[in-house]
């Protein structure tokens, strides 16, 4: 017998092996349940949103449509609607609507909702969630017939083309997110124009030029920390700097714009730009780091200057990564609410932003505002707006992934 052998043999080895496998299985189960919890949370989130955005609606017409027209509602043409609106609305109200957008230029759907809103006066009595509507459809109809004899029950998708194209309204049934989407796009556009060149420039300087010493280490550390600063702090910064100190610039008064204060989409865009700047710098640095040194040496080897190396090789080979990172940073900006509240997004505005010095609202602001309303219809359109925001975010992220795959380089 070998006395030097301290390892378990045969039977005892098999036993110890079983113990090892058991431990491994337990850990595997723990990791899998972690993933499961994450998946369930995500599904629950999506379910809640979708559940709120579709469902049965019980509504009444305060005035019988038959008093306005003999044509069935769904067959009304644009011309008929125009005639009805012109004759039945007070001339003052008609002029006001015509002033917002010429009636002739409006679509049939637009006119139809005006007809319902102003003349027939659609009145929502009750709404149900999608789950209720599907599971208890018959009961809902019976209950409605008892409680509101005159009401009709319809399955409604709160997200609709009309919802996308309508501006804000005080009635949830006719409200839309056009103003908010345009506001969000302006915001993200301004943030990008501001943060992308500055962020890329800073990243190039830090990676390619800056010496590595205690000073640049401190700068680097600060950039990393700034990426984690709560967004509301950036809101305070935006309020102090862009809204107040730089008011002549952000209100556009030095460009001759007179009808605004500093609470413009320009101020908010710059605030968002500052908010995403650290993220863009870090992402751009990573992209620049991914360019192999051998490529830089190849350029230096044929007598390139540092600038030529950076401009012709480092940047072209990292630009896809820089753009991808920037898009992901912007998707964060798209969802931010707190800084916008502080720099003063309008909560009720039905005019599209027309330029950088406009008042504005944004999707998250709109969602936040709708969820605080008491009427359940507003909660339904908030759910609809959340769906649209999520689709926008997914589109941005998908663009980022496509960009990355399209320009991925092998060295």
């Amino acid at each position: 017998m070998n006395t030097n052998n301290h390892y378990p043999q045969d039977e005892s080895f098999r036993a110890s092996l079983n113990t090892r496998y058991r431990t491994a299985n337990i850990w595997q189960a723990i990791f899998m349940s972690a993933l499961l919890v994450a998946l369930i949370s995500l599904m629950a989130l999506i379910y809640t949103v979708i559940d709120g955005a579709f469902g049965y609606v019980a509504f009444e017409y305060k005035k019988d449509p038959a008093t306005f027209t003999s044509t069935p509602l769904e067959k009304l043409s644009k011309e008929e609607l125009l005639t009805i609106l012109k004759s039945k609305l007070s001339s003052g109200a008609y002029k006001k609507l015509d002033g917002e957008q010429p009636m002739q230029a409006r679509s049939q759907a637009d006119l139809y909702s005006l007809f319902l809103e102003r003349l027939v006066q659609l009145d929502t009595k009750q709404i149900w969630s999608m789950t209720d509507s599907i599971l208890h459809g018959a009961e809902i109809k019976a209950e409605t017939a008892k409680k509101y004899p005159k009401a009709k029950v319809e399955f409604r998708s709160w997200v609709s083309p009309q919802f996308l194209s309508s501006p804000m309204s005080s009635k949830a049934e006719f409200a839309g997110v056009r103003t908010a989407i345009l506001g969000s796009l302006w915001l993200v556009g301004i943030a990008l124009l501001f943060a992308l060149p500055i962020g890329t420039g800073a990243a190039v300087y830090l990676q390619e030029y800056a010496p590595k010493n205690w000073f640049t280490n401190i700068i680097q550390m600060n950039i990393n920390n700034l990426a984690g600063v709560p967004s509301i702090v950036y809101g305070m910064l935006g309020l102090a700097i862009f809204v107040r100190v730089l008011e002549p610039l952000t209100s556009g008064s030095i460009f001759g714009v007179t009808d605004s204060n500093g609470r413009t989409v320009f101020s908010a865009g710059l605030t968002m730009g500052v908010l995403v700047l650290p993220l863009i710098i870090i992402n751009a640095q990573e992209a620049i780091k991914a360019v192999p040194d051998s490529l830089r040496q190849a350029a230096y080897g044929v007598g390139a200057t540092k600038w030529q190396t950076v401009w012709y090789h480092v940047l072209p080979n990292s630009i896809a990564g820089i753009l991808t990172g920037s898009i992901l940073a912007l998707s964060r900006a798209l969802g931010e609410t707190a800084p916008l509240i502080i720099v003063g997004a309008s909560t009720f505005i039905s005019v599209d932003p027309s330029g950088p010095f406009s008042k504005f609202t944004a999707l998250p602001i709109q969602i936040y505002q709708w969820t605080t309303r008491a009427q359940p219809e507003f909660h339904a359109i908030a759910a609809g707006a959340i769906l649209i925001l999520m689709v926008l975010l997914l589109t941005l992220n998908a663009t980022a992934i496509l960009l990355r795959n399209r320009f991925q380089r092998k060295y």
Binding site: P211, K212, P292, S294, L295, Q297, A298, A299, Y300, G301, V302, G303, A304, T305, Q308, Y312, H313, N317, R409, K410, Y411
Partner: protein, 260 residues
């Protein structure tokens, strides 16, 4: 061959030491590299061969803490002198790296880029063809000049890198283990190419492969680290002498494979 105007040596070092911070990586190198010859630098890993090679075209400048004492003289001018710009040095002393590193561009652009940034005013098509011919690559790539350089095999890529270096018409070509990442056939082609190139260029090559040094080079510098871990040239002579009758015992041990 040589007339009185051309200096006898392409490049020479005088008491050259290369420091990284307080550490002396290479100390007191005094060698004279002859024109239109191939000079090999051999020695065990970590003895400073690459560091010495990179000192010749100031590639070590990119290592933040590095500095050089002593002189490297090209046409009598110190490459580390006050008024010498490193870009100017690299323009005159080209380099081929260990791992083929073509630009992620077309084959054509790989050659033309260096010429373009250095202000080449001649016919670019001719320059590209001529450089590729000199690197024995023209026949293989003449129909796909617009294709990415990454579609070439490793050996072809390395010859493209040589062509790229030739295109800027340097005086000297430095090669840092140019065949170590290649298969034997590609290696052979590079070695044959070097024999062609030495008609027009002075070549300094670092190699791990002693057979390669023996096959291709005219002169060999044997490097070794001393007890302070600084590398130094312990013997510099005709390649034949280094491999048959070395003066230094350590060189003999190394080239006969007794250690290293």
């Amino acid at each position: 061959m040589q007339n009185n105007q051309t200096p006898e040596y392409a490049i020479e070092t005088k008491d050259l030491s290369i420091h990284y911070g307080s550490f002396v990586a290479v100390s007191n190198v005094n060698i004279k590299v002859e024109r239109l010859k191939i000079t090999a630098i051999i020695g065990p890993s970590g003895c400073g061969k690459s560091t010495l090679l990179r000192a010749f075209n100031r590639m070590n400048d990119f290592v933040p803490s590095s500095h050089v004492t002593g002189e490297i003289l090209l046409h009598g001018q110190n490459l580390y002198g006050k008024n010498v710009d490193p870009v100017q040095v690299r323009r005159k002393i080209g380099m081929v790296f260990q791992k083929p590193n073509p630009f992620p561009k077309s084959i054509y652009e790989n050659i033309s880029w260096g010429a373009k940034i250095n202000g080449f005013k001649g016919n670019m098509d001719d320059l590209v063809e001529q450089s590729l011919r000199s690197a024995a690559l023209w026949d293989e790539v003449k129909d796909k000049l617009k294709k990415s350089a990454y579609e070439l095999s490793g050996g072809q890529q390395q010859r493209l890198c040589i062509a790229r270096t030739i295109a800027i018409q340097p005086d000297i070509i430095l090669m840092d283990e140019p065949a170590s990442a290649l298969d034997p056939i590609s290696t052979l082609r590079i070695e044959e190419l070097m024999q062609e190139l030495k008609k027009n260029y002075t070549i300094i090559i670092v190699t791990h492969n002693m057979q390669q040094a023996a096959r291709v080079s005219d002169y060999t510098a044997m490097m070794m680290i001393d007890d302070k871990r600084s590398g130094g040239v312990i013997e510099f002579d005709d390649t034949k002498k280094i491999f048959t009758r070395p003066k230094d015992k350590r060189t003999e041990d190394y080239v006969t494979g007794r250690f290293g």
